[in-house]
């Protein structure tokens, strides 16, 4: 049995974007989804580094699509989250939820500032 994988913040964002996109998750759509949902604009290099690292960890795998003319005849490479990736993501999200319990992020006393 493999040890639990801890996920970085960007890894979680990428995995969530892949899960949201379902069968249509590949480089272009993942970047668009992350930009649309988070307002961040990650570079393609950062995304591919993360995807390859997660593939090496066994958190994602790939399947090839059909080549298209606008891609110069190159096939898309669709990303699939593995069972281990789902478990790691669930574990990370569960940890966040556990830490967030009891905290009201809009609590003025906790965060002070103009709302205090």
């Amino acid at each position: 049995m493999n040890p639990e994988r801890s996920l970085g913040e960007f890894e979680q964002i990428v995995l969530l974007a892949v899960l949201r996109l379902g069968d249509e998750a590949y480089g272009v759509t993942i970047l668009a989804e992350i930009t649309a949902k988070t307002g961040r604009n990650p570079s393609p290099g950062a995304l591919y580094t993360t995807l390859h690292r997660m593939e090496d960890k066994g958190l994602v795998t790939f399947r090839d699509g059909s080549p298209t003319p606008e891609r110069g005849g190159r096939a898309k490479r669709f990303v699939i989250v593995t069972r281990e990736g789902r478990n790691a993501l669930a574990s990370a999200q569960s940890a966040y939820q556990s830490l967030l319990q009891g905290l009201d992020l809009l609590d003025a006393q906790l965060f002070g500032g103009a709302n205090a």
Partner: protein, 252 residues
């Protein structure tokens, strides 16, 4: 509408794909280039080349940097170790006897421990930068270096303990499924490095009609041969790591 990259002559993109494939593999390179071409349709040609360059650097910087750092580590070790040996030999008693518990083990393990420690001076920093601190190869190399390092202490009991600890650790690695593969990668890399250095020196000695065992090239040539051999070993290390240590995914 901006020109689609599908209309770009494929001979112009073949070198870019070839270069990207050197750092990330053929299939990944083709998919990445296809993605960049698709995104460049709504942007510009300049954006495409800029994104390509950034992606190439992001994906490929670890290998060369890891090699340079590992080479520097070996260089430092080659300068420091002889000085250390000379210092220790000057301070050893003239009647220093090897009074070790297992004489045969001591006689055999000394050169083995030395060779192992020297190989690890390259493999450990290379694996650390190339694959990260959490990688099993890095952790394995680190533990093995700790086990073999006392060989340079010239204290009998430490060399004894170091020999036994190293043998036990290697035996445990052979038995354990978790550490067997990192051991295989380390062994393959070390054997490649030593074999490459020996072969190069032998070829050079033969070309100069010198006996191999007494052959001593100039410092620059010797270092160049070592660097070439270690570059080959780094390539083998990356290859073995990809074959043996990359996890096989289980689809949900």
């Amino acid at each position: 509408m901006l020109e689609s990259f599908s209309s770009v002559d494929s001979s112009r993109t073949a070198p870019t794909e070839w270069l990207l494939a050197r750092v990330t593999g053929r299939e990944r390179a083709a998919a990445i280039l296809g993605d960049l071409a698709e995104m460049a349709i709504t942007r510009s040609r300049l954006w495409f080349w800029f994104a390509y360059a950034r992606t190439l650097i992001t994906l490929g910087w670890r290998g060369p940097v890891a090699f340079v750092i590992a080479l520097a580590s070996v260089r430092i070790m080659c300068r420091v170790y002889p000085m250390w040996v000379q210092y220790e030999l000057r301070h050893l008693k003239s009647e220093w006897q090897i009074n070790m518990f297992f004489r045969q083990l001591a006689v055999a393990s000394g050169p083995f421990l030395n060779a192992t420690a020297m190989c690890l001076w390259f493999v450990l920093p290379f694996a650390w930068v190339r694959f990260g601190l959490r990688d099993r190869l890095t952790q394995f190399a680190f533990i093995l270096l700790l086990c073999t390092l006392p060989v340079v202490s010239f204290h009998e009991w430490l060399i004894d303990a170091s020999s036994i600890a190293t043998m036990l650790f290697l035996l445990a690695a052979v038995i354990s499924p978790l550490w067997r593969r990192p051991l295989a990668v380390l062994a393959g890399t070390s054997i490649t490095a030593i074999a490459a250095i020996v072969c190069c020196f032998r070829v050079l000695a033969m070309s100069q009609h010198r006996a191999f065992l007494t052959f001593s090239p100039t410092k620059g040539v010797g270092w160049l041969i070592t660097a070439f051999a270690l570059a080959f070993a780094a390539f083998v290390c990356s290859l073995l790591h990809r074959k043996l240590l990359r996890q096989r995914p289980v689809i949900a």
